[in-house]
């Protein structure tokens, strides 16, 4: 019984971390049809923000929950103004330009902080006991944050005026701008928010993974697979794909070890895309957010 609970917790944590690393990408992709290849670097910058400010004596919770999203969100707005806004409607060029951006960020951070790990911080909160098994309380906290984050994004999209206007822009930007919405501003805000969510995720994961200039590469593959498998709906797609892929990964990793877990994740994603080229939400839950 304890084993089952511990295993279930592990799988839920895997799913939550998939949601966490993919959500920022999904927001930007779902709202703006922009695939941000610098997504991994947004996570990396969030991690650096937390590690550096914590080492400067800032409270770790403040650094993770406020500073990281704020800093990376501002960087996102800046990026949108300086680069992305010239490339709307040119998907391939956006891909290439954001890839250039990703290399640029890696290069910048390496030049400033060096290629090695900046001093790491240890995860706050200790361990908890489940019968004979111990689990990190921080992992539980991350699961909780993920749920809150999903609810928050849902609330913003569904209940606020900004969310309404953003959804309208997403459906038809011509019509929205004809009705007086400044679509340019909406795009800027959306990109900034997506970046902020990525920054938050990167900051939250930093105590677990440590930070490296090249750490983005380890996130990006999973984030892309999740978002593409999920399809166009931001919340439903990301959640559904995370549950499916994270579940498969967790179960296979338990049965055969972490290496085959990742193989199973990839294989499942490729087969899924073959069967549902527009993602899960291209076929199911189509009307959802």
């Amino acid at each position: 019984m304890d084993l089952v609970i511990a295993l279930a917790l592990q799988i839920v944590y895997g799913i939550a971390s998939l949601v966490l690393i993919s959500l920022g990408l999904a927001i930007i992709f779902g709202m703006m049809r922009v695939i941000n290849l610098a997504h991994g670097e947004f996570l990396m910058l969030g991690g650096y923000t937390v590690v550096i400010s914590t080492n400067q004596g800032v409270n770790i919770w403040f650094a993770m929950l406020v500073l990281a999203p704020l800093v990376v969100g501002l960087i996102g707005v800046l990026v949108e103004r300086l680069l992305i806004q010239f490339l709307y409607g040119r998907m391939v060029d956006t891909l290439l330009a954001t890839w250039g951006l990703s290399l640029l960020f890696v290069g910048l951070v390496t030049s400033i902080f060096g290629a090695q790990t900046a001093t790491t911080i240890s995860p706050p909160l200790g361990a908890i006991q489940i019968g004979d098994y111990s689990s990190s309380a921080y992992e539980l906290f991350l699961i909780g944050v993920t749920v809150v984050l999903l609810l928050l994004v849902y609330a913003v999209l569904k209940l606020t005026k900004l969310g309404l206007v953003a959804r309208a822009t997403m459906q038809s930007d011509d019509m929205a701008s004809a009705l007086g919405v400044s679509t340019k501003r909406i795009y800027m805000i959306t990109f900034g928010l997506g970046a902020a969510v990525s920054g938050l995720a990167g900051g939250l994961l930093a105590p677990v993974t440590g930070v490296l200039p090249s750490i983005g590469a380890t996130y990006i593959a999973k984030a892309f697979i999740t978002v593409i498998s999920g399809g166009a709906s931001i919340l439903a797609g990301t959640t559904a794909a995370s549950v499916l892929l994270g579940g498969i990964n967790g179960i296979m990793a338990f049965l055969t070890g972490p290496t085959l877990g990742e193989v199973a994740l990839l294989a499942a994603a490729i087969i899924l895309i073959r069967l549902l080229p527009t993602g899960i939400t291209g076929r199911f839950f189509r009307k959802s957010l």
Partner: protein
């Protein structure tokens, strides 16, 4: 294949390549030659991406996957067989088969090009993280330990009839140049066949090509597989040039590099990506020795600037500038002639008027 202007240029390029191959080992130091072998391997990779992206319109961000699989398959097979002859075949086949399987899922699933880019990149990155984990003694294929992060030492190529006689570095250079030149000729021929023309038609407008009655999925898959095979051949040269394959071959930096060669050199040309590969190889190794600026920084800036300012790449931009300049000059000459003729006529008229 007709003797068009493009083909005259291509023939000149091939000739220059052959002359360089024959002259270089006599003129350059051995260290430079060994370095060149690696650059040649990367140029072959660039050629394969130039073919499938520039002519097939297939946006593959993970062309290094096939390159790396070629290198790994060659190494593992050569260790197991104790000779390179079959290993070469195995490597090219492995890369082609992997491309075919991946391509089947993508093209027959009708994945759009942006998704395709992301999927190919993701596959490459997953190969990277998988192979990094294979450091234990239980991860071996036949006699070859995969070695995780440190990779596997690649046995050198040998003559097909003498497995105990490994080739010297300058011979590897010859083989590499031969593969590059032959690969270039094959690609140049391929794009002028019926198959190649259909591929270009699909690149221009997939729906229209399909309505005319071509099975675009099949053509794209075939193009992708050929590109994978060429990249695999490049991987063999790479394994020989470096002497070792490591999971780093699959990392994000290298996949970006391949894209940058093609963007800088120019899509829709074959020579452009090859030149881009050589140029950036020497630029990055020079920057590496200077140690002032970070390579990632320079490459990232290069990519952004090219996408924003020179989206077609250097070679096509240069060609159209050259053509423009030539036609402008021709026009000026013609105008000059006309004006002179007119001038003569008006002076004749004036003379005639004077006589009256």
């Amino acid at each position: 294949m007709s003797w068009t202007r493009e083909n005259r240029w291509r023939a000149a390029l091939v000739l220059a390549g052959v002359i360089f191959t024959l002259a270089a080992p006599g003129m350059l130091e051995l260290f430079t030659i060994i370095n060149l072998s690696t650059a040649i391997a990367l140029a072959i990779l660039a050629l394969s991406l130039g073919l499938i992206w520039g002519y097939g319109g297939i946006l593959c961000f993970g062309q290094t996957a096939f390159f790396g699989i070629g290198a790994y398959a060659y190494t593992i097979a050569a260790v197991n067989f104790g000779g390179s002859s079959w290993a070469v075949l195995v490597a090219i086949l492995a890369a082609a088969v992997f491309a075919a399987v991946l391509g089947y899922f993508m093209f027959y699933g009708r994945v759009s090009d942006v998704y395709m880019a992301v999927i190919t990149l993701t596959v490459t990155l997953i190969l990277y993280s998988l192979l990094r984990r294979t450091s234990g003694p239980e991860y071996k294929i036949g006699d070859a330990l995969l070695g995780g992060f440190n990779g596997v030492t690649s046995p050198p190529l040998n003559l097909p009839w003498a497995p105990y006689m490994p080739l010297f570095p300058e011979h590897v250079f010859y083989v590499g140049m031969a593969v590059l030149i032959i690969g270039y000729i094959i690609c140049a021929w391929l794009i002028q066949t019926h198959f190649g023309r259909v591929a270009v038609a699909i690149r221009e407008n997939e729906l229209r090509a399909e309505l005319i009655g071509y099975d675009t999925r099949f053509y794209k898959l075939a193009m992708f597989t050929i590109g994978g095979a060429i990249a695999g051949a490049g991987g063999i040269i790479f394994a020989n040039g470096v002497g070792r394959v490591t999971p780093d071959i699959f990392n994000l930096y290298n996949s970006a590099l391949a894209i940058i060669w093609v963007i800088v050199g120019g899509r829709g040309t074959l020579a452009g990506p090859v030149m881009g590969a050589f140029a950036l190889f020497y630029l990055t190794s020079w920057l590496g020795t200077q140690g002032v600026v970070n390579n990632n920084l320079v490459l990232g800036l290069t990519l952004i600037i090219f996408v924003l300012a020179v989206p077609r790449g250097i070679l096509p931009t240069f060609i159209s500038w050259w053509d423009g300049a030539r036609s402008r000059r021709a026009m000026q000459r013609r105008e000059l002639k006309v004006r002179r003729k007119r001038g003569r006529r008006s002076s004749e008229l004036r003379e005639a008027a004077d006589e009256k």
